[in-house]
Symmetry: C2
Subunit: 702 residues, 2 copies
């Protein structure tokens, strides 16, 4: 029996390609210019070049991605990672080219953590001797590593891990041991099957004393045949919501020995023989890396938002439903069903997501700039930026990844039923994105770091203002600036008297600043005056962090458009064409106002705005969405410049041939490769044709 | 090479089983009594009986569910559906027993739509002749059917479908045809592979006129060998976010003929020969079925909330993280890490979900009662309940399924990293639950039906009050009652002056009623006075529907505890033990207050409450959660009475042996069945041991 062949029919008029062409014709700016502003020409050229190199390589083919089970997908990812490294070696790619290819292929793999965690840890915590011994072969992939910190019973609280590494003076070795099931390493990407080495976080015990978690590097699988080394048990932890192309693994040690050089000794070490522990210097240095990771997660949030918005927006311009009787849509003389993008509810769902993608774009750029500036400062002993940058990066990681996860799901639903099909690209995107809200600091937990900093800053500011030695003009830190404005007048009221006033960025910033400062002031009062426990305040702390970080996003968006965003040293500010600038300003207004309008509670209780303002903002938003943003919606997502290969979505195609692509993908479904389903004889026929009758007889019986 | 064997270590102290035992010991009520109140003894006994029958049947085994790809899972579901029908026939199960078994097995399958849509449509829309010809063989599964309404280009707007059924007088047949790709049937459960018949919604064309969509029943696959009949092309639509055990299918007709009897003719028909169309009577009758489906989705939302809450709550009592310094937890004399359930943020995330599950329980019961009452009324020509019940069921379907989908994901995240593992049970639960927010009326779209009813009621009430013929005491409809209270005094202020006052259900109901009426009044003003278009009001309409339905949930929860919930005729009200009643009252308070506290915007703009009230509610909530609900949290979820077989979750086990079950599941991971990964020789060894060197040489080289 042969595979099914679906009929080759065209969709009814109007065609998706015509609808998208119509959208693009009425965009008020050049999507290409806006892409250049966002990414720079060099980036876009590199993307083009890498796309050409990988798109047609069988190892990077995406056409079967949605059909395969976990076992097959993992096998494919191993093949893909191998091919990627080989190609990179052959073509002598630089780091940016590698990252670009990896991004376009868009599939986690068994070698991913080797690059993102194992080698960086060797770099930052290893000595030169260790670089020679472990890092050099790692760069050639002779060593393939993983980063084994989390245990099955211990996640966020690293101090609680139970795996031990005991120094044995007699042999100058460490003995690694897993004392309990709860100490089993778990979730370690690449450990399940691929890695032959691991960075292991274990409690360093020497001379009878427990010095807490330290990083070690040890071989775990044989370099000869990849079997597990004696004393090590490791395997895969099984299927997950997403990320199934990575072999997250588990590991137990049974009195496993490794030489003393396994302790990564750049900062702390153990003296041979005596086992005397040598303490690390300033521990603040390690915050730098955390800031980098969290800032890069803001960038990934931007990516998730932008990808999902691209698919949902393009498809919403094509998908039509009902006729809006008050304003029927015509194509030529014919009344057609209204594209769902014309419905105000669809706009209220999608346009803020487009806006959020742009907001995160500018903040992610700014966080990276601050990261490098801070690293430079710290190298010269200046730690002034560190606390603010660390606090913001924690809160922003939490806020933006929460936004992105919710928005991908919202985009999925906004595609109606078809968002549920794997071919939309959105289910897998959602599943693979999901860990971002948990890893590198659970999104609820890490806001405590932001809260702590905000409360400390507030208390210091209040004390300084009371000291008499205070000058408002000396404040350069934006956090202190909005707190100071609030303290000048906690009862300030919004001066807006019409919808139009809310397009004023100063009013937007004042609303966000007042609300953030109000929440911080209330929390500090509850902690310091009412003496409420920290635990009882976790909800308020979270809310204060969100308010602070929403302000940052609004601020950076406004600055990013104005062109007065600080640039990294030696980098010229990109130029934004006036038409694109006007269009982006609409998005920035929407971003600022929509969040207030949708959840006005804290803005109202802060006293800055009242019910009338909320209603004015509602009108401003509706006007923006219908008249300003709607015509540019497709242009805004086109400017993200995602190739079809990258999106891998029937609904999000650039050319609008949605239904053609969708049905074509369905023909490749494995169970469509036979006309009669496997299992028919066993499981269906016993009911439908129990006596094996021939056609005519059956029709008579029915 | 053999499968991996993980070490057999115990978790470190305290054990999960001890922690859960401790929780259960301090519960203030009997979980068993509460289960009885919720379900009745008969239900619980039936569950027990069915569990015994199915738990050990290989066809219903769940132990491999999380490992299999779509193709294998579909094959398993076909086997399962076959076994289920066979067992039901052998054991002569009644409908309730069948439903119970199906619920416990908890996996959609290829025969599901045959039961839930195909046969019910035959029953409600078929003539006696059609019952004889189609329904009887369907009950024996000789006919296996599906319900083909949705087209790839047409979902919610049924009037827009393009498939035609043209009456051919010459042969007394209908000719079915798919004119465009957009007319292809899509998403049809059971059509992909299993069904041999379909109910097809197609435009009835007769005597040159298009009468719009009508239901037909036609054979699509051969009764002899299950091949597609000539003129029919059908297949599976491919992989999806969830529901992959169902063969959602697509179908094209190419001038396919079927006899006139294929038109389901209970309400409308075509006269033979002339092709004259006979119109249907009152179309309102069909709303009854829609109410039933939407009411049953409220029940499924309850189930989703309760299942997810059970897993996350039990695991949060076991999972420990950090030491809360203000209040360290002890087990005997030892300070242990604090169970995450003791953190206020975890409580703020999970306890409202437990409360929502109970809220939906009572509302789902009440909706079913109203459905049957309305059916009885309509049969005697009384349509007085219909509009209210239809409006509420639409809005409640939207609200409760949105809540449930968000809550399952929240529970998944509240399990930390392990919520990302398939073994938690939460990823698959989320994926399979997801379509509920889209099908049977997209959750944004259908609230327009609720809005329309609310606005109409409000306008009529205003007119009646102005007419002079109005008596408030004559109002029996609760919707009119809260609107009337609002109209009596739109500026009413909440009288509460302390946290304690918010435990008063009358104050809770007044806040919800005032806010709902305010939103309706504002929307009616915008539509009628400001003449805003319907499209521009969709956000406000959605919000009004949510407000109305939240009030219903709060109302029914309060009544459900008080015991003054109306009962179906002839059914005695169940008895709630005083300890359980007190505990449930805490949950009801939390449910009412948490929603206001979390999103106070509309309550504030309605003018009923102010910023001080929000702060009082915050205190009331914290007190409730910490002192009242925390000790009973495990008891509340135990009362849902879900067997471990049903939950299929390592984290949600009744006995608390979380880590043991979790690692045991990982040993069964397919890629753990060999020590060295398949693909090592091809994809890893070329990097790690390119020259095939032996052990010693390699160590030296490194």
């Amino acid at each position: 029996m042969s595979a099914l062949r679906f009929p080759d029919l065209p969709p009814s008029e109007p065609q998706g390609s015509d609808l998208l062409a119509q959208e693009r014709a009425r965009t008020t700016f050049s999507a290409h210019d806006l892409s250049n502003y966002l990414y720079g020409e060099e980036y876009l050229e590199r993307q083009e070049k890498m796309l050409t190199l990988i798109e047609d390589e069988p190892a990077f083919d995406k056409s079967n991605r949605y059909f395969l089970g976990r076992t097959e997908r993992f096998a494919g990812a191993l093949k893909k990672d191998h091919a990627l490294v080989k190609l990179a070696q052959e073509q002598k790619w630089n780091a940016e080219e590698f990252m670009q290819a990896d991004l376009l292929i868009d599939e986690s793999g068994p070698f991913g953590l080797h690059r993102s965690m194992f080698m960086p840890t060797l770099v930052s915590q290893g000595t030169e001797e260790q670089h020679e011994k472990f890092l050099k072969p790692s760069l050639r992939y002779e060593i393939i590593g993983c980063y084994a910190q989390t245990e099955i019973g211990h996640g966020s609280n690293v101090q609680g891990i139970e795996t031990t590494a005991t120094y044995i003076p007699e042999t100058d070795e460490f003995e690694f041991h897993t004392p309990y099931l709860t100490a089993c390493k778990w979730w370690i990407g690449g450990l399940g099957k691929a890695a032959n080495h691991a960075v292991v976080m274990a409690r360093l015990i020497t001379a009878g004393k427990d010095y807490g978690p330290h990083a070690f590097v040890v071989p775990i699988r044989s370099m000869e045949d990849h079997t597990l080394l004696p004393g090590v048990m490791a395997g895969d932890i099984g299927p997950k919501f997403g990320f199934n192309t990575t072999d997250n693994g588990c590991m137990w040690f049974d009195h496993y020995r490794a030489p003393r050089i396994s302790l990564l000794a750049r900062y702390s070490s153990v003296k041979p023989g005596s086992g005397e522990y040598v303490k690390p210097p300033n521990s603040k240095l390690s915050y730098g890396t955390m800031v980098l990771i969290r800032a890069s997660l803001v960038g990934l949030a931007r990516l998730g938002l932008a990808k999902a918005a691209t698919i949902a927006t393009r498809y919403s311009a094509i998908r039509r439903q009902f006729v809006d009787k008050d304003s029927p849509k015509k194509m030529g003389k014919e009344v057609i069903e209204t594209p769902v993008l014309d419905y105000s509810m669809q706009q209220y769902r999608l346009f803020p997501i487009i806006a959020a993608a742009y907001a995160c774009h500018f903040t992610s750029k700014e966080m990276m700039r601050l990261y490098y500036l801070n690293i430079k400062n710290m190298a010269s002993g200046n730690f002034s930026l560190l606390a603010d940058v660390h606090a913001s990066s924690s809160g922003l990681k939490s806020l933006t990844t929460t936004m992105a996860a919710a928005s991908i799901e919202e985009c999925r639903r906004a595609c109606g039923g078809h968002g549920f099909s794997s071919f939309s690209g959105l289910p897998l995107m959602l599943q693979d994105y999901a860990p971002n809200v948990t890893w590198e600091g659970d999104n609820y937990m890490i806001t405590q770091q932001t809260g702590r900093y905000l409360f400390k800053s507030f208390r210091e500011l209040v004390a300084k203002r009371a000291s008499g030695k205070f000058s408002a003009s000396a404040i350069t830190n934006p956090t202190l600036a909005y707190m100071n404005t609030y303290l000048d007048n906690p009862n300030l009221k919004c001066p807006a008297t019409s919808s139009a006033h809310f397009h004023n960025p100063e009013i937007q910033l004042a609303a966000y600043g007042h609300r953030a400062a109000y929440l911080v002031a209330e929390a500090v009062h509850a902690l310091d005056v009412e003496k409420r426990s920290w635990n009882s305040m976790l909800v308020e702390i979270y809310n204060a962090s969100v308010a602070h970080c929403q302000l940052i996003l609004v601020q950076n968006f406004i600055m990013g458009i104005r062109g007065d965003m600080p640039q990294p040293e030696g980098v010229a500010a990109p130029i934004l064409a006036p038409t694109a600038k006007a269009a982006l300003t609409d998005l920035s207004d929407l971003f600022a106002l929509h969040q207030i309008h949708k959840q006005p509670g804290e803005f109202l209780t802060s006293g800055y705005i009242d019910a009338k303002h909320v209603s004015m903002m509602g009108k401003a938003i509706m006007d923006l969405m219908e008249n300003k943003i709607r015509p540019n919606a497709v242009g805004f997502v086109d400017a993200f410049a995602f190739p079809d290969y990258y999106l891998n979505s029937a609904l999000g195609r650039f050319d609008g041939k949605v239904y053609e692509a969708y049905t074509e993908m369905a023909t490749r479904e494995p169970i469509n490769q036979t006309e009669v389903v496997e299992g028919y004889e066993q499981y269906i026929k016993p009911f439908t044709n129990p006596h094996g009758k021939q056609g005519k007889t059956i029709q008579a019986r029915l």
